[in-house]
């Protein structure tokens, strides 16, 4: 069942084309990663999902309802955390959290709220004016996770959190997922996306250029191999799908396109393999390839 569905979404700001036909779909119970370089259109997409911006064309539906028309009904079932949290300087963090929760109209489990504040090491009695960036972020995170939502929309929710807090955040996402909630997570921290997300979409210049499960995306990329053989392997560097070839300590070190792996292993095995190490491509490798535009071939190290 689709919790969120976006089809052929475009948005222009004056002459700037921010989105150019974006398609997205998030299923129930799924954690969906949304990545892409600065200015790619992640926040714009999310603002449209929240009914803050009106799409130029295309549609965005959450729970089968239109993001712009039915914003109020939709917002009763979601929680949002932006990357830049701006609060009222004269209110305390605790007051703001209570205001947000009250507006969400959800039943608040006080012990859960207290536990979150403790886990996030957050002092709710200070005025928002005095909070550091990370602490302002915590206000939004606590308000979001203190009550259940069917869908969490998180736009770089951990920018400004220290690694310890980052871990608390990941715990929150796990728990939400366990309860059957869905999550849309936009982030530049790829290890975080890799750890949390079931599926990922990569956006660049307002277009989705890749999407699918991490496993299937890995399929599209290269695997790092380190091989030692008894005999010299002739012409290894000119075999199909081989990139970044070098020899280190009598080991061949290179990358191979995932779909050429089978051929490659057959080829080298003729020469007596004594050692073979392979590393799966990280999301970062994947990402680098797409970020760096159409430059193919030599990869981008």
């Amino acid at each position: 069942m689709k919790v969120l569905e976006v089809k052929q979404l475009t948005k222009t700001f004056g002459k700037v084309q921010a989105l150019d036909g974006v398609d997205l779909a998030v299923n129930k119970g799924e954690v969906y990663g949304f990545i892409g370089p600065n200015g790619a259109g992640k926040s714009t997409t999310i603002r449209i999902l929240l009914g803050l911006l009106k799409p130029t064309s295309g549609f965005a539906r959450l729970f089968g309802k239109d993001a712009w028309e039915d914003a109020v009904a939709i917002h009763k079932r979601i929680a949002y955390v932006p990357g830049d949290v701006n609060l009222w300087p004269n209110l305390t963090g605790g007051e703001v959290i209570d205001l947000f929760l009250k507006m969400r109209g959800v039943r608040v489990d006080q012990s859960r709220k207290a536990r979150l504040m403790e886990q996030f090491d957050f002092d709710p009695t200070k005025k928002c004016r005095t909070y550091s960036k990370g602490n302002r972020q915590k206000v939004a995170l606590i308000a979001a996770f203190a009550a259940d939502a069917d869908l969490y929309i998180l736009d770089e929710p951990t920018s400004g959190l220290d690694p310890l807090m980052e871990r608390v955040f990941q715990q929150c996402v796990y728990e939400a997922k366990k309860k059957g909630s869905s999550v849309l997570l936009s982030s530049h921290i790829l290890s975080e996306v890799e750890r949390l997300c079931d599926r990922v979409a990569i956006i660049r210049q307002g277009e989705i250029i890749e999407s699918g499960s991490l496993a299937s995306l890995r399929h599209l990329t290269r695997i790092q191999l380190t091989i030692a053989t008894k005999e010299v392997v002739p012409d290894l560097d000119s075999q199909p799908g081989v990139h970044d070839f070098k020899i280190e300590n009598q080991h061949y070190v290179f990358q191979v396109d995932a779909d050429q792996l089978d051929e490659m292993v057959r080829y080298v095995s003729q020469y007596g393999v004594v050692n073979l190490e392979s590393a799966p491509p990280t999301l970062e490798d994947l990402f680098m390839r797409h970020y760096q535009g159409s430059t193919s071939g030599g990869g981008g190290q």
Binding site: A73, K76, M103, A140
Partner: protein, 534 residues
Amino acid sequence: MANQPNYQTGLIFRFLFKREVVKLLVWIVPIVAMTVTIALAFNGLYETQEERQALAETMENPAMKALVGQGYGLDNYTDGAMLAHQMLLMTAVVVAIMSMLLIVRLTRADEEDGQLEMLRALPMGRLAQTNAALFVLVITNIVLMLITAVSLTALGLDSIDWAGSLLYGSVLGTTGLFFGAITLLAAQLSDNTRGTMMLGYLVLGLSYMIRSIGDSGNELLSWFSPLGILLGSEVYVNNYWWPILVIVLLAIIIIALALYLQQIRDVGAGLLPQRSGRKAASPMLQSQIGLALRLLRTSLIAWIIGMMLIGISYGSVLGDLEAFLGESEALMEIIGASGDMSITEQFISVLLKIMAIFSTIPALVVFVRLKGEEKKGRLEHLLAKPVSRKKMLGTYLGLSFLTSIVMMLAGIIALAGIGVTVMDVDISFNTLVEAQLVYLPAVWILIGFATALYGWCYKWSGFIWLYLLFSFLTVYLGDLLDLPSFILGLSPYYHIPELPTDQLSWVVMVVATGMALLLSLLGFLGFQRRDIET
């Protein structure tokens, strides 16, 4: 069910109201207190009918009409009519400013700073914040109206009765409602706080100006200004209620339009098109002065135009004044044989003082911008680069001094240019310009004062506006209320010689300029040693 634009208005209203209530009382209480005090003072000062009739005569004067509105009920001049003539328009302008600031704070400012985005992602109707802000506006103005009406009636003065006082309060409240509505509309058009306020002030300024030209000459023109219409209620004499009705209706139409626009636009956006900026900083922008000038460009241009418009409207009054003095020989006799020249000059000197005070505002705006930059945390970026604090403060201070000169020139050149063509008394262009420019040292004292406040007590630097308001009131009400000279003397403008009549005193000029420099220096010392606020 779908698209509930008003959902959660109540909750947001309570939230905004709690936030604003103290600020609003800080506006309302002094406004009412001043109105009541002045009413009592008039009653004490002008006890007999003759004294009041003498004052009524001055209401025939076009310069007076330009300043405060048309006179009415002059045959039998009462305390009530006197209060309404002298105070209603000015108080209404103050209430308008209060309402404009209120609406901007509650709508565009929250949107610009990003709080609205957080709220609108929660289940909250598209109009909830705007509705709530409007409720705060309406309640504020109704409270102001009732408190004013009750307090004035409670004075128990004959002519200041309940019917008149209720209308007096209603004129104030309606002005607030109308200009609040205008600002709400402006907040839909501009995508930032400064632009919104500027549009609001533009409408207020034009309303005042159109009324001013209309009241002193072509009376038809006044009906094209909301302020002109409201003054048409002739409070305490005829008590017409229809102007209230007309303006409330207009306000409702404007509000409806603003709500409609609010509902169809993106959060954070304005409906006026945005130009795209330069790719790289021009060499100009890379200097301190260049950056400051760039930040202030639009408002400086707006102010120069504003000053020229004020100059033009006051300049054109001078002609009417002439004609009036020629006609009413009776008045000449009452006032005394000092000749028409000195009366014209007397009015000119009041106008020049008011112009001097007006040109102080943009000069202070320039300086206060530094505080704004500090508050928004942008000063940090600059000071983190090799820019010394001294240079930073010096830049804004220098610009502020420069602005005072430019603004004063813009205003007086317009005034004198129009003035000498419509007047046929021998008062030369140069005399007028000179008579205006002698006020510069007084303006500088205020700038120096602002610097000292900024350097030593950042939190209280807004106090400078109160000081300016006080100075304005001493000019505006000094004579009427017969204020003692030690109070008048607290305003720097008081000590400046009034040129065509008085002698130019270099001692005063030098002492005043010296004081301004001393205060500025003090500001530098303080700024060197205090923390930068964030």
